[in-house]
Amino acid sequence: EAEPTSGDGLGGVCRARRLYVSFREVGWHRWVIAPRGFLANYCQGQCTLPAALPGPGGPPALNHAVLRALMHAAAPGAAGLPCCVPARLSPISVLFFDNSDNVVLRHYEDMVVDECGCR
């Protein structure tokens, strides 16, 4: 279940978008005890200037990304734009029955996108 991309298909400014993963959707709801699903989110958007510059409170931009956005503004064919990627991630834990009927709690790092940035 994802947030629709905005009109121009390019996704507007680089930012985190809502993406909810439901275990029921993949038919796992009978053996995943908790959670029912989780907000994984995803990054999308343009890293042109000024988006490639750090927003208030946003993740610090990389000098290299700013340089590339500058180059792209000056000579669009020279090098592509920086990419809109996760800049801060959070873990999740999943409680489930495994195929040996054990109750298992697994902890997964880097499963939820909290912030995106131009890299």
Binding site: G27, R30, L95, F97, L105, H107, Y108
Partner: protein
């Protein structure tokens, strides 16, 4: 030769979750042990997200660490006893002996790459109906490796432990005792249990046996990235 079909969404998610195989049909539903709910809520993203990786008590959550149990790890398994028939030695009444038990834990779900960091045996006993009041005094639990064949005598005694009262669950740490420290977990663990009563002719019944196993999968637990300067 045809390239293998790209994994479907479920297979891709399984792979991302580091699971070897997906669910085979519906699991045998059983009550979720309270300790597992407690550990899950301790790490629940809603709580940790609020403080961003803080436990409800405000302590910072370290990745791949099970705060409540005080050990490193990113996988906690509550493994039920597969149950082997209780072995009652020679006529109990004549010899005043109490039954012994063999408990079997299936550890085949543990990957060889996982490093065990906690193996806690948890037992619940119940008094066998005795007219006399419960005897005062301490019971003594002994845990030994059980032979592979049914009926084979117990192997070396792994530990003796006093049991102050039957009402409370009995916990015994087996890491480094039931198998060599730093070794991978065995495919299965068979233990022979005996509970010596404080007074003769008073016996107890083994109500429940389970193994709480914490492992660290180094493939999924990268060391904390150095904070970016």
């Amino acid at each position: 030769t045809r390239a293998p079909a790209p994994p479907g969404p479920a297979a891709a998610l399984l792979q991302a979750l580091g699971l070897r195989d997906g669910p085979r049909g519906a699991p045998t539903l059983r009550p979720v042990p309270p300790v597992m709910w407690r550990l899950f809520r301790h790490r629940d993203p809603q709580e940790t997200r609020a403080g961003w990786r803080r436990t409800p008590s405000g302590a910072t959550l370290r990745p791949c660490h099970v705060e409540e149990l005080g050990v490193a790890g990113n996988i906690v398994r509550h493994i039920p006893d597969r149950g082997a028939p209780t072995r009652i030695p020679e006529p109990v009444s004549a010899l005043g002996l109490c039954p012994e038990w063999t408990v079997v834990f299936d550890l085949s779900a543990v990957e060889p790459a996982e490093r065990p960091t906690l193996a806690r045996l948890e037992l619940r006993f119940a008094e066998v109906g005795t007219e006399a009041a419960a005897p005062s005094g301490r019971w003594e639990l002994s845990v030994a490796l059980a032979g592979e064949e049914a009926g084979a005598g117990p192997g070396p005694v792994l530990l003796h432990q006093e049991v102050p009262a039957l009402e409370l669950p009995v916990r015994a740490e087996l890491l480094g005792i039931a198998w060599a420290p730093n070794a991978s977990a065995p495919r299965s663990l068979r233990l022979a249990l005996a509970l010596r009563p404080p007074a003769p002719a008073t016996c107890a019944r083994l109500a429940e046996a389970s193994l709480l196993l914490v492992t660290l999968d180094p493939r999924l637990c990268h060391p904390l990235a150095r904070p970016r300067r």
